[in-house]
Symmetry: C2
Subunit: 157 residues, 2 copies
């Protein structure tokens, strides 16, 4: 299973950076993996807190998410208002997002040409890209026609 492999690599990463291998960190990975591809930290904290035996405190979740970001297993993919939506990357190839501002649905997509064009632009400016984020906010097909119900996200981009 891919998850096990990721955990092993993360273990290596921790060792290499003078961190310790603790049960909590790996339990948080499990939780994130079983939560779904996209999450917000507070949401995750609440979710974890509601489980039978709470596995980690809010601080530990925040700290672990940060570590996982440094490690590269997690990315901040959507910033909307004061909300930050993370994605459990876990070896998935790079992609961008369409975000429905009505229902909050997130659609992933990838277009080689867009990446290429970006690289060209960077070359033109002698700019070395490290990472990027493309967010497209709009209305998904399910929400068309039924505007103004269940507004869940703010439009402000």
């Amino acid at each position: 299973m891919q998850l096990e492999e990721l955990k092993q690599k993360f273990e290596q990463f921790l060792r290499q950076n003078g961190h310790k291998i603790t049960r909590g960190r790996f339990e948080i990975i499990d939780k994130i993996a079983s939560y779904g591809p996209h999450f917000e930290i507070e949401e995750l904290v609440r979710w974890i807190a509601n489980q039978d035996r709470s596995i980690a405190s809010r601080s530990t979740v925040y700290r672990t998410v940060r570590l996982l970001q440094e490690f590269g297993a997690i990315r901040e993919v959507i910033k909307l208002g004061n909300r930050t939506i993370y994605e459990f990357v876990a070896g998935k190839p790079h992609h961008e997002h369409l975000i429905c501002v009505e229902c909050g649905k997130i659609i992933e997509f990838y277009r080689e040409e867009i990446e290429e064009l970006q690289d060209k632009v960077c070359e033109d400016y002698d700019f070395t890209p490290l990472n990027h984020r493309l967010e497209v906010f709009g209305i998904c097909s399910d929400c068309k026609g039924k505007r103004h119900e269940n507004r869940r996200m703010e439009l402000r981009a």
Copy 2:
């Protein structure tokens, strides 16, 4: 002058939405216009506060920026960590940004093809785009070779 025109349109906008025409709001527009194309609100608040006669309180600046966003003269263009960088649009055509994570420089660019590709993707998913944001984080030409000095922005995207 373009600024005057914008102010007139903003005046119309205010009237149409039951808001009042106050000196403060227009003074804030002047400040933003003379500040430069990109700004953060706290930065702007400090800058305004340091002027001879402070023109508006922090709350009023926040409230006015919000109004200007609704009006469409201002956009949130970069979200980095807990920072939000705004742009005074003022009729400028749409564009995207390269952000240097070393020195904070912001480069604007536009590629018709990227927009077209995005529209195509949206069509494929029957998704109606309302707005979008493309941020490319990296190292600008000036900062190449002199890494690790003057780190001003965090890499975390």
